[in-house]
């Protein structure tokens, strides 16, 4: 018989004194055998199993105050759980619920927010909006102990920022991995979580290769950019939507060079076409400056750089563009530099843009070649696939339809369905007495 079952059997509401004495005695024994956290966890579970309170959930993301796909992922899980659980969103810096609601169009009114500062990073002189866990010294104490302690206050702890250095103390712990960035180190605790959830099979494969851990669930990110209007006038626009990363991993610079080469080599075929490169950026981004400089070398009206645009402007671009380019991973050996899933590719597909993307990373799980998009492996391949589309309106229209149909498989609705099923199964086992 499990420890929890024994404790549960001691419950007798008619004789609270004796009942509590027995429970207390058992908890003392559990504390001696398994540590104080185990006895506290059994008490937390007892409260839930007796219906005294709802299960409590913490969604931890140290970069929650930043707009990002991973953060949207965590917040959508929070939204899906808020009706049946008490959900707290924990971050490194202050962020309000209304900000999160505005950024992601989610209803989080039943959630709470909490800030947990990490003394190690607070002590650093330079003011940074996010911290890099790679800077942590692997000697001495784990700076994330404070987060671990907090995790033990909840029934379910969800680590949404891939911070493998946080040791989970809760009864149930979920590690959401968008890509395993670092190698195993002294403070590696991803293997202590009850479940590992990955955003794509590609990420799952790398969790397996890099950390020798097997994921439990593949949960593709929610993408909600569907344009339901059938009557769309597509223009001769190639669109790219990606963040201007400091490392240049989204390769906007290469896109400009490739487009410039196309204009030069095939002036007739590319007649009337232009490229629009949109994306967010941090202030003073040197990579963005290089992109700007390179864009000035293209003939006037052939390129449009759109930095930090609003959601409505972005929707308008998707609506007008015919072709969508995504190069991340091209000519790269580092698996981290490939697209781990490809949310913007799906956004484009949901707006009937034909994706022409590098055959690598998570993109392979989204697109069916020549049905819902086109793959390329080299620069030349990319040029040829694009010219093919520029040449043939019928091919474009055929793939547009396929892309739209496929894009609808990655909506928030399907994300919520799968996430809810996962958590309901967990909670069912947690609330019952075994």
């Amino acid at each position: 018989m499990s420890d929890f079952r024994k404790i549960f059997d001691h419950v007798d509401r008619n004789d609270p004194g004796e009942s509590i004495r027995k429970i207390s005695h058992d908890l003392e024994r559990i504390k001696e055998d398994k540590g104080i956290q185990a006895s506290y966890n059994d008490l937390l579970r007892l409260e839930v199993a007796l219906g005294i309170r709802k299960p409590s959930v913490a969604v931890y993301d140290n970069a929650l105050h930043f707009i990002g796909g991973a953060q949207k992922y965590g917040c959508t899980i929070a939204q899906s759980l808020q009706e049946i659980c008490d959900v707290t969103l924990i971050s490194h810096k202050k962020v309000t619920l209304s900000q999160l609601q505005d950024w992601y169009g989610l209803d989080l009114n039943k959630c709470r927010t909490k800030v947990i500062k990490i003394p190690f990073f607070e002590a650093q002189k330079k003011e940074k909006s996010t911290f890099d866990a790679g800077e942590v010294e692997l000697k001495g104490e784990n700076p994330f102990h404070v987060v671990s302690m907090e995790s033990g206050e909840y029934d379910i702890f969800i680590n949404n920022c891939m911070l493998e250095m946080v040791y989970p103390l809760s009864n149930i712990s979920e590690f959401i991995c968008h890509f395993p960035e670092r190698e195993r180190s002294r403070f590696f605790h991803a293997d202590k979580y009850s479940h590992i959830i990955c955003n794509s099979r590609y990420t799952g494969e790398w969790v397996s290769r890099k950390w020798d851990l097997k994921p439990h669930e593949i949960l593709y990110p929610p993408v909600d950019m569907i344009d339901p209007s059938e009557d769309v006038n597509k223009e001769k626009i190639i669109l790219s939507v990606s963040r201007f990363e400091l490392s240049g991993k989204k390769q906007q610079l290469e896109m400009i060079r490739i487009f410039e080469r196309m204009l030069h080599r095939y002036p007739e075929k590319t007649e009337g076409w232009k490229i629009i490169i949109a994306g967010g950026s941090v202030d003073g981004n040197p990579y963005l400056e290089r992109v700007r400089k390179a864009s000035q070398l293209l003939p006037e009206g052939k390129i449009d750089l759109r930095v930090d645009i609003s959601l409505d402007e972005l929707k308008e671009l998707y609506r007008k563009a015919s072709i969508f380019w995504h190069l991340a991973g091209l000519e790269q050996r580092d698996p981290e530099r490939a697209e781990h899933f490809g949310m913007t590719t799906v956004e484009a597909m949901q707006n009937r843009c034909v994706p022409v993307v590098f055959r690598g990373g998570g993109q392979k799980e989204i697109i069916e070649d020549r049905v819902s998009g086109l793959f390329f492996d080299t620069r030349e391949g990319m040029i040829n696939r694009t010219l093919e589309l520029m040449d043939s309106l019928s091919l474009r229209e055929k793939i547009e339809k396929g892309a739209y149909k496929r894009g609808k498989e990655f909506t928030k609705k399907s994300f919520l369905r799968k996430a809810q099923k996962h958590f309901e199964e967990i909670l069912m086992g947690y609330c019952s007495v075994r």
């Binding site: 956290q37 005294i52 994921p215």
Partner: protein, 161 residues
């Protein structure tokens, strides 16, 4: 309405407060957790039932052989004990032979796994080095490309003049 301390919920709350306080004062992870929770198997860990059915599917012939063997046994048992003994003697000889082969194969596979592991480690370190070189190469290509474009633009401007 305020609950009386006699109520079970209230008593439980007090007990929780007590343990919570004790937990808060435990600074070391070893005091908090003495035995770790076991992880559930991941989706890519072997499901042995599935694996077994896959093996049977791949070696469907074995099932046929087993059937033949059982038929042979019943045939021999019909001809008296001597035939059965002879049959089992042969079978035993075959099994011993098969066992020797299996052991050789196992050690062969183990050696192969070890060398594969070594190759994998070597490849990983090479991959890391290659990614570093690749990054440097990318930067170089990027500079060359930029230079080319400038050159082409200048050329176009000149020819325009």
């Amino acid at each position: 309405m305020k609950k009386t301390p006699e109520k079970f919920e209230q008593a439980l709350k007090e007990l929780k407060k007590e343990i919570h306080e004790e937990r808060k004062n435990s600074r070391k992870m070893e005091d908090l957790i003495k035995t770790e929770l076991e992880r559930e198997p991941g989706i890519w860990e072997y499901d042995f039932d599935e694996l077994e059915s896959e093996i049977w599917k791949k070696h469907a012939g074995i099932e046929k052989k087993i059937k033949e063997l059982s038929e042979k046994i019943s045939e021999c048992s019909g001809k008296g004990p001597r035939n059965i003994f002879r049959f089992f003697k042969n079978l035993r000889g075959n099994i011993i032979r098969q066992n020797v082969i299996n052991q050789e194969i196992i050690s062969f596979y183990l050696a192969m796994m070890l060398s594969l592991q070594k190759i994998k480690d070597r490849l990983n370190s090479l991959e890391y080095k290659a990614s570093q070189i690749n990054r440097e190469k990318d930067e170089l290509i990027s500079d060359i490309e930029e230079y080319k474009v400038r050159l082409r633009k200048k050329k176009d401007e000149k020819s325009g003049e």
